[in-house]
């Protein structure tokens, strides 16, 4: 069985009378250490799927197992602990906490995981900041950084506690293309070092085409699931 196992997943949003069937039977298996890109037109259900995999949202029908855990049966508290321990998130809007410095932002997941030793936290945080090239900005506040720098901090924060799964929903949408490429590369490199599974959702065609594995969603269903050959090409996606 895969690291992530999804069977016939359905999710409907209710807006008063009307309903939006955002996911209509998605089935998917992801192995540990895989790096998966998720594409598809706007409104196809990418974010919805990521939220459910990331244990941020509930679903109506189907089954999902993440890291060997049947998350549907867990309560809020258990899910929160599960996310803190096993999942790292990178968001489109960076979502750094404005009152915390770069260092403190990256330190937060370690605090959540109950790392008592300030010395250990410091070395972990500094290691991550060094890896994203922002050690010199440790004392800065997020509003003193550029978008690209903020997203680097967010990557450091998402990976500092060595999560087994990294989820990124359009992490480059607010960045120029050069910066965006560097950000994606950084995520891939760092997560490879840690052996984490990565799921990145993007509209960037080039990224999708070059992905090791690429999944296209349309109208809440998987339209295409292509794994690259040894050359690492997924032309089949398009």
């Amino acid at each position: 069985m895969g690291f992530i196992q999804i069977n016939e997943l359905h999710k409907t949003y209710w807006l008063g009378e009307s309903q939006v069937h955002a996911l209509r039977g998605v089935s998917l298996a992801v192995n540990e250490g895989e790096r998966l890109f998720l594409g598809g037109p706007s409104g196809s259900g990418k974010s919805t799927l990521l939220h459910i995999i990331g244990c941020l949202d509930r679903f109506d029908q189907g089954r999902i197992v993440v890291a060997g855990r049947d998350v549907a049966s867990a309560d809020d508290r258990a899910l929160a602990d599960f996310r803190a321990r096993y999942i790292g998130f990178v968001f489109q809007n960076f979502n750094l906490l404005p009152v915390l410095t770069v260092f403190e932002n990256v330190e937060y997941p370690l605090l959540l995981n109950g790392e008592k030793s300030a010395k250990k936290r410091r070395s972990r945080v500094e290691g991550m900041l060094e890896a994203v090239g922002l050690l010199g900005h440790a004392k800065h506040y997020p509003n003193e950084l550029s978008g690209g720098q903020r997203q680097r901090v967010a990557i450091a924060r998402a990976l500092v506690h060595h999560p087994r799964l990294l989820i990124a929903d359009e992490p480059t949408a607010n960045l120029d293309s050069t910066t965006g490429e560097a950000i994606i590369q950084l995520m891939l490199d760092l997560s490879r070092e840690q052996g984490s599974t990565v799921i990145i959702c993007t509209h960037n065609r080039e990224l999708l085409e070059n992905a090791e594995r690429c999944i296209l969603l349309r109208d809440g269903k998987i339209e295409n699931d292509a794994t690259a050959g040894t050359q690492g090409r997924t032309a089949a996606c398009f």
């Binding site: 941020l56 929160a80 999942i87 968001f91 979502n95 906490l97 009152v99 997941p109």
Partner: protein, 408 residues
Amino acid sequence: MFLIKVAWRNILRHKRRSLFALLTILSGVTGIILFGGFVEANYIGLRESVIRSQYGHLQIHRAGYEANHRQDPDRYRMPLEQAERVKALLESNPHVQMTSRRLEFTALLGNEKNSQAAIVRGVDPETETLINSALTIIDGTDLDEEEPEGVLLGEGLAQALNVKVGDQLSLLASTVNGVMNAVDVTVQGIFQSFAKEYDDAAMMMTLPHAQQLLNTQSVDTVVALLDETMALDAVVADVADRSRAQDLGIEWIEWHKLATFYQKVVDLYDGFFLFINLVIYVVVVFGVANTMIVTVMERTAEIGTLRAMGTHRGGIVRQFLTEGLMLAVFGAVLGVLAGIALTYSLNALEIMMPPPPGSSKGYPLRIAYVPWIWAGSVGAVALIALFATLVPAMQAARKSIVDALRYV
């Protein structure tokens, strides 16, 4: 620590909003402190004035006096020798500043034209002056042992009789043997006390002259004045112990049991104070709640991020409670400091206040320093802030993570 750090930075992040909440709390607490201090100063002023204008701190009578003296006044008076022993006992207590004897009776005071019933008090002039230090001689001079026939009349009584200082009057009363007796008296002075009703009927004369009129050696009361009102309980305990040991046969009554007027004023002002507290605390509730509701709204995306990373709902609640509490306690402490500073300044200005009800004299504005009100208002504001923050904090924690993350 982390909670406090984050709360503090968030408070500083929106300076204007925090300042507004802070000022609301600050002015509320300052108001409570000023009003509470004003009320307390009035209690103290009124208390000391009541004690010194007639009651003294402690009045000692022969045992059974209170229950029986109206039916049989002379039998329950203290004979000369008992009064001397009581005086000696009292004066050996270091808190007792002085004692004074009183003989009380009603008599008819008049001349050829007018006559009035008077509540007469025969006193030791030397010491009574001290007990009556809140009693002002508005015309003439105080009683004097050298002028045994001199008397003081309350302002209202003098007006009713239409007499002035230097006028002669005669005083008619029945002796302890039941015979009518009369003495001549001279109006030596006219006084005002804190209570107009009392001034309408009261008259003071020297004790020997009064004893001569009633043909007795006894007195009704030995009054004691203490160096400080707070020592009363200790003095009473001492008097109880030693009078029992000496088998003195006395009873006593403390000033506050006599001063019903004082108690009524205290009850009334306690009511005002409570009401003002309630009004101010309601304002504080809305101030804090409003600030926290806006704060929670604004930080929706932040809440979503924290929850996504794995912060528990309780963690979100604690964060906002800490913030509301810190804002409130900080505002309250500043309010206490402002209250103390204003108390000091207003006292220094010596503003004159109009006479209070039932009184004939104005008094300077005084505000007391009352530490329990300071501590109480900080505590109350803290509790109220927790309560006012709880609702928005719970709302924050209950938000759906996905919706919160979408919020821009």
